[in-house]
């Protein structure tokens, strides 16, 4: 897994399989690995059509369990050792539940791929920033600017801010003069970026109409 941006976490490190000595490290590991384990179980069940049951006791002795279809029936099946013939009703219930699970998997897949898209976009934006920083001194981090440059930048930004306010005012006035103000005006713009990102920001809900 290559690291594009420096992150505070340590990344993938090889560890030896012995009991972890530090308590909070142990707790964190438990939490993460338990989730990962259930994820693997979920995938195995979905991809290969198996029935699976997992029981895990936490360091605090809480009983976590995961089952497909449900852990209790897996346990019963295990304990009784009798293969239970699937009744018609059972099969129907199973089919129904499997269909539901399939829906959820599809939904998850969709969200994950959207997430991947946004992450890539974030990386591209970072890359652009990095490149333009080399050419334009004012885009450098504030801490890297000299006091003279910083002052110039500050004043330019203050000026820009006024311009933005003026422009906003202009639009506001114009909108009052027209019969009704379309909130969806942003759809008409030539924005290079994906519109859905605009729609998803919750702040827009409160804008005036």
């Amino acid at each position: 897994m290559e690291k594009m941006i420096k992150k505070p976490c340590m990344g993938r490190q090889k560890i030896s399989i012995v009991k972890i000595s530090k308590k909070n490290h142990l707790q964190v590991t438990f939490s993460k690995r338990r989730t990962g384990l259930f994820k693997k179980a979920s995938e195995l069940a979905t991809l290969c059509g198996v029935e699976i049951g997992i029981i895990v006791f936490s360091p605090a002795n809480k009983a976590f369990s995961f089952g497909h279809l449900d852990v209790e029936s897996i346990i019963d099946r295990f304990l009784s050792r009798n293969p239970q013939p699937d009744s018609g009703a059972n099969r129907l219930i199973k089919a129904h539940r499997n269909a539901n699970i399939h829906e959820l998997n599809m939904e998850l897949t969709q969200v994950l791929s959207q997430l991947e898209v946004e992450r890539k976009r974030g990386e591209a934006l970072d890359k652009m920033r990095k490149a333009s920083r080399k050419q334009c001194w004012w885009e450098s981090p504030i801490a890297e600017l000299g006091s003279r440059e910083l002052e110039q930048l500050r004043m330019a930004l203050e000026e820009l801010k006024k311009k933005v306010a003026e422009q906003a005012n202009k639009i506001f006035v114009e909108s009052n003069n027209t019969s009704f103000f379309k909130v969806n005006a942003y759809e008409n713009k030539t924005k290079p970026h994906d519109q859905s990102s605009v729609a998803s920001s919750s702040m827009y809900k409160y804008w005036l109409v």
Partner: protein, 259 residues
Amino acid sequence: MTRRKVKLCYIADDSKRKVSLKKRKKGLLKKVSELSTLCGIDACAIVYSPFNNQPDVWPSHNGVQRIVSQYKRMPEMEKSKWKMDQDSFLRQRIMKSNDQLLKQRKDNREKEMTDLMFQTLVGRSLDPFDMMDLNDLGWTIEQYLNDIYKYQSDTNNMMAMVAGSSSSSAAALLAPPPPPAAQAPTPDHGVMRNVGESYQGAAAAAATGSSSTGRFDQMDTQQWIMNLMSPQASFGGDDMMLPIGDTCHTPLWPNNFLP
């Protein structure tokens, strides 16, 4: 090891499925074992493959029996609290991923706006933008300015401490103007940091990890734009109306700041 994205649905091809089953089952049992050893806890797994009545288990048949009886002894409520099936597990995953998605979108929006800020700073026209963009843009500019003010005031404080009286005049000249009134509260120092490590902003000051509430979360949209459109305290740069050229080179500024 190739990392290819696998589709989350039943593998139709029989032979591929068998291969996958074998590998994944092995991997899963290994993971249970690791979890148990690393954290010093009891765990067990039971896997029923289709067409096979004997399950694959970990740690062993007896081990599973022991843990299962331990599990059965627990009170119902305790068990059901942490009991998951595919349905609940997937829903949880979906929720978490959705949260990550929203956060990533907000971060990206902040990055976009910062880019836009710099572009409009060097001359890109404000005409095509609507109220929402202008609002976000104005907000972004304001946050950046706040970072600058903070950095300048921190630098002055340091200078004053180090150099004593000689820098007091310079400090007075560099003193930031009063910040704009009645804004929604923003997380201190944290604003620029939310936009990812590449935006260092006022990172020089107190680089403590802040809770990741993006500044857009705290913005009161109407409040902000109304404030901006009504007359407010003038900024230090009022007398210095500098044209924003559309070239990249440094404009010449009157040298009134430092003697």
